[in-house]
Subunit: 727 residues, 2 copies
């Protein structure tokens, strides 16, 4: 396996390359987005240099001074290294050298970080994860100043800083390093990148394949409740293999994919440059580049990632990791002109060969809109563990989750969904319960409400049975199962559908949910049709919440509000919901309208008078005000075995507080009716206010594109082939 | 008084003038903002013409079809008339004529509107107010097509439609027309404008001076609880006289000023054009134009009006009434180049002489920023009834209300304030409880929670004594009183201060509040210093709420949250507050930090351990979800006679969910201390985290600019002249 890298003259060769630097210098002043990025970075680093170097003795958790300072230093080092290469100004190289020498002086006698909360403590930071982040960035800085340093200086840094640093986060922290997890990916990349710069094949191999001959206890768990190393796999290649589906979906969801993306891609870029024979971008049929496309599609109209599983809202493709992803995808992929429009919005590029390619593409007018369409992304290493479907039509976007557990960051929300209009939430997924890096809120770490609320089923827009979460919220059980696609159909631009089945969340119960966005000329905007069919071997209580945002506008039912607000339950997330109102549902259709950010929304649901309607609000048993006080309307159906929930959600009209005019503020649905519900078929009739009638039939069992169907409803024959009928 | 208008050839002469039309036609194609506005209006009206004319039999409240249609028709008529004049295309004149004739045919036998809720029912609409709106717009349309119509057609319209229409809203509805109120202003303008077009001196006089020889019962009240006609004044001139202070502050506040502005200005423009001898724009020392400047200053950084009294949030200077105001102010005023920058933001102009002037000014590059500074606006017809002060420094804006009652739309909130950063609310004024024109919410009218919550003192950032509202929330009492300015100082750009005294809100108690925005180099952003000094003749309970928006971040006190949420009280607004948490305050300083929209805020308050801290949330006893579930921190001090509330509110730092970095998330105040509090002086010492100490002394009694002061605090002598000392 040994290969020989040429002499030290080859540096930089990790991310910047000698040829790339030459090309960049030749284009400078002529590539606006690159020039502007460079100028901003130069101003940023010049300001840092003026402030002087500080490498404080590590003390704090996330958000505290020493944490923030070392985190800042790694970025500053990386950028200063790049500036040295591009601008050929030795002050940047000297700055990098001086700071690295300070780190060397400190590190060689540095004990474990004094904070003890992590399962794998770092030295500069309270957790190895952050130490790994540091080394990923600092490896790049070292590569940039490699030739500036004397051999003696390099030996000193490698012997006292980089090698022991790489050993600490790997050999000395196998519970962190030797597994398949986003933490380990950072660890692998850190070890691998410094290995590439140092030309240390042992480190490179440790990065790619894990710590040699080490087997860990496969039953141990980490802080988040995930298995440390369930099946014994480890190393960068295993970390590509496991979490990505063939479609590029990352099993923890887009928020963590964004976080993991940087080490995946930056290490891959380094491997591509230094070890091209590995063909890393072709690994697993090019899954790394596919994953970028998947991730970009997992964002709303504003570029914000859908907060599936543990995801902090507001994270978006404006994050620097996505600048890396977009530029690398463009340069090492197929030069998709859609990526250039995202790069234009990001308004910065990597200061390397890939950023140059993007800057030239934009400058040459090649950018085209990145057109997000409906897409179905399989989950699981082989794409056989369910997935996530995104339905899109005009401004309406629906994210439907029928995936596997999502590793330790997964939520217990099979067949849940969230709904957006033009980047605004209509029906929300709560996301995580955490204020990332805000020290005042639990040190910036996961809050206990993440487990007691955010992960629980009732926190999501799906069915909760008997007030218990899917899989009893047990990771060991949930991680063994996944939902199964019934069908996905996006060929007809007016009817986008995803349908999936879950049989394990509640043993003895089967849930089949079919969600469609339908564009019908009788409606102002595309509407959502939601059919949830539950079959069970016993009587259950089903709770079906709608986490709407905004102000209650009208209902077609009478409701009562209590004098005092009490928690709806005592566990499984119910302890965090206040009951704000109760009602009996209407026979036939229950209607509810609300107003949010100047737009009207209406829910029409097929109900009967035994159904209860609850208004709930998040915030009970929340002693530190960690939760947002947001509302839901909940449909509760008791003592039912087999049942069907059918709803339409319409977005309609608008309200402007400037003109004070309300436009199209009422639902356009006159009646929603189940006209057939059998094992193989469910048929829904939708009548609009003008009396126009549409029929939607979904195939519950034999739903392939090729299947032929023949069916009689109310004495009329319907014959079609494919998964559904709509007319 | 009779004057003779020239022959019919003089039309248009009301808003458009014959000369103006000539000038506009000459410039068309050469004045971008005018051309674009014209094009948009033409597209809008062409689309309406294509839809055909509909003048339905009146049936609905606001938001219902017939209401919306007639409201739309008045706008369409006005615009079509203008298009006819500017474009000389007869299709627009014919359209106006045809619709007017349909109205004529309907109106002559039209009974009162079937909805009975108004104190003054209209015919086209449920209230005379809307009928008046209609006539104000339609008079303009009539003027534009006057010469297009035959004399016979004009006679028909005037006899069967306009004259009886004007009579209905005036002679037949004196309770609406014959008073000083924004409703009446619309009525006056409507009668006057049709009078100007018809050259009917009797109508013009009725508009200017009220219904001749009519005296109303001065003790009667309207739907909102305001007196119908307390002092017998009426007519347009009285309506200018009474509600505007010499500084141009409108007594009901900016939201209603915006609403009232249009009839004031458009009728004034008509009077200026047809009756220049009245010199209407010079009336009361030019108060109409001054009021526009006041109104623009009563908006935040985004142009949204501060929601003083009854105000719906989101109303802004983008409203069409402000296009009118800005254009008229520019044209008939001093051609302030700052107005051109607002017109540029509005991105439209009036299609008349004033809009032409603005368009030419913008085209000729005359626009300059409209620089909003600290400003003190007196209230009351003579400027002697308190006022509203707006303090501004960098991005921080504070609105301090020490005004009179504000007519029937006034809230009971003496010495209250709200605080903004860059157009975002830091500490909010709730505004009104109403969804204007949203039929589903109480027909779009005032909700009962406006009286039970929004108007009550506890809904505002001021002191509530013994859980009762100022003046016991009695309009008869409140409208007799006003607060009194102690001093206003904005000369020192680093220290902006307003100080005012209220002695009537709670008989036996005197409140003196001094609010400052201070820019100090030791702080990242300007901070607010708030000193509320209460002197009473008996023991009271004082509640001092802070209506913060966003998420609780940290406190320096321990608090408990209750298991169930109960209302904090049973009346005076307290019935709408849930108690969400309780604590004992700290000795010396109580601190509270929160996060909103990516920015950090901290409150530091001088407290003692007898003080209680309450977390409250709006929403109790709200059976139709009319109220927003927003929070407050409330400081409660019991069994106190004379007391002092001293707080600092800091805006600091930022949080980005994209970079996940928290910057400057902690308060910079180490200690806030009262070092002296006597009848004449209160002195506050502010120590920042670096130990730098500042002293602020405010003069409580002898606070003139010229006053000389000599004072010993802790053995140190302070000597200064003016209202305050800061160093």
């Amino acid at each position: 396996m040994e290969t020989t890298i040429s002499s030290s003259q080859a540096h930089p060769n990790l991310i910047l390359t000698a040829q790339g630097v030459t090309d960049i210098r030749a284009q400078l002043g002529n590539i606006p987005i690159f020039d502007n990025t460079l100028k901003a970075v130069q101003e940023e680093i010049d300001a840092e240099i003026a402030l002087g170097i500080d490498t404080p003795i590590p003390l704090d958790y996330s958000g505290g001074y020493t944490h923030v300072r070392h985190k800042r230093n790694m970025i500053v080092l990386q950028k200063a290294g790049v500036l040295y290469q591009i601008l050929e100004d030795e002050k940047y190289a000297k700055y990098v050298k001086d700071m690295l020498m300070q780190y060397e002086a400190m590190y060689k006698t540095l004990p474990l970080h004094p904070k003890t909360r992590s399962y794998a403590r770092g030295k500069l930071f309270w957790q190895c994860l952050n130490d790994s982040n540091w080394l990923v960035y600092v490896s790049q800085a070292y590569d940039c100043v490699y030739n500036y340093l004397s051999e003696e200086e390099r030996n000193k840094l490698e012997t006292n800083l980089f090698k022991p640093f790489a050993d600490h986060i790997s050999i000395n922290s196998p519970q962190f390093y030797q597994r398949v997890h986003n933490h380990s990916t950072w660890g692998n990349a850190a070890v691998g990148m410094i290995g590439l710069v140092m030309n240390d094949q042992e480190l490179i191999d440790r990065a790619l394949y894990g710590i040699k001959d080490l087997k860990l206890d496969t039953t141990k768990k980490d802080d988040d409740g995930g298995f440390l190393n369930k099946d014994g796999k480890a190393g960068f290649l295993a970390n590509i293999e496991e979490p990505f589906s063939p479609d590029g979906y990352y099993n923890e969801g887009p928020y963590y994919q964004r976080y993991a993306m940087y080490p995946f891609l930056i290490f891959a870029e380094g491997l591509h440059n230094v070890k091209p024979e590995l063909k890393i971008f072709e690994y697993k049929e090019g899954v790394l580049l596919k994953s970028i496309n998947a991730l970009l599609n997992l964002s709303d109209a504003d570029g914000d990632f859908f907060p599936l599983n543990d995801g902090q809202k507001g994270m978006s493709y404006y994050n620097d990791a996505l600048v890396t992803a977009v530029d690398i995808s463009y340069h090492f992929g197929t030069q998709d002109p859609g990526l250039l429009s995202i790069a234009t919005e990001q308004n910065k590029v990597l200061l390397d060969d890939s950023g140059l390619a993007v800057a030239l593409g934009i400058k040459n007018g090649k950018a085209k809109p990145f057109d997000k369409k409906s897409i179905n992304l399989s989950d699981g290493p082989n794409g056989t563990q369910g997935g996530v479907a995104i339905l899109r039509n005009e401004d309406i976007e629906l994210v439907f989750k029928y995936a596997a557990q999502g590793s330790s960051h997964g939520h217990y929300d099979k067949l849940s969904y969230s709904l957006y209009e033009k980047g605004e939430e209509i029906l929300q997924d709560y996301g995580l319960a955490r204020f990332v890096n805000i020290e005042q809120k639990g040190g910036g770490n996961y809050l206990k409400e993440n487990k007691t609320w955010a992960k629980q089923t009732i926190a999501h827009n799906t069915v909760t049975q008997n007030e218990t979460s899917h899989f009893n919220a047990k990771y060991e059980i949930g991680s063994q199962h996944h939902s199964v696609l019934n069908y996905f159909s996006s060929e007809n631009e007016n009817v986008q559908i995803a349908s999936a089945r879950e049989t394990n969340a509640y043993p003895g119960s089967e849930m089949l949910r079919t969600m469609a966005i339908i564009k019908d000329k009788d409606f102002e905007k595309p509407y959502v049709l939601d059919i949830m069919k539950v079959v069970s071997n016993k009587d259950n209580q089903y709770d079906f919440p709608y986490y709407f945002l905004g102000q209650v506008l009208s209902t077609n039912f009478e409701y009562k509000v209590p004098e005092t607000l009490k928690a709806l339950g005592s566990k499984n997330g119910y302890q965090h919901l206040y009951l704000e109102g109760t009602a009996k549902a209407k026979n036939d259709n229950t209607k509810f309208s609300w107003l949010n950010k100047g737009k009207f929304y209406s829910l029409t649901s097929v109900t009967n008078t035994n159904d209860e309607i609850l208004f709930t609000r998040i915030g009970a048993n929340d002693p530190e005000f960690n939760l947002r006080r947001e509302a839901a309307l909940m449909l509760r159906r008791k003592n039912s075995k087999n049942t069907l929930f059918v709803s339409v959600i319409e977005a309609h009209g608008s309200y402007s507080p400037v003109s004070e005019s309300a436009v199209n503020s009422n639902s356009s649905i006159k009646e929603l009716k189940v006209v057939l519900d059998t094992e193989p078929y469910t048929a829904i009739q939708i009548t609009n206010v003008n009396g126009n009638v549409k029929l939607f039939i979904t195939a519950n069992t034999n739903a392939s594109k090729e299947a032929k169907h023949k069916l009689k409803i109310n004495d009329k024959n319907y014959e079609w082939s494919g998964s559904y009928y709509f007319n």
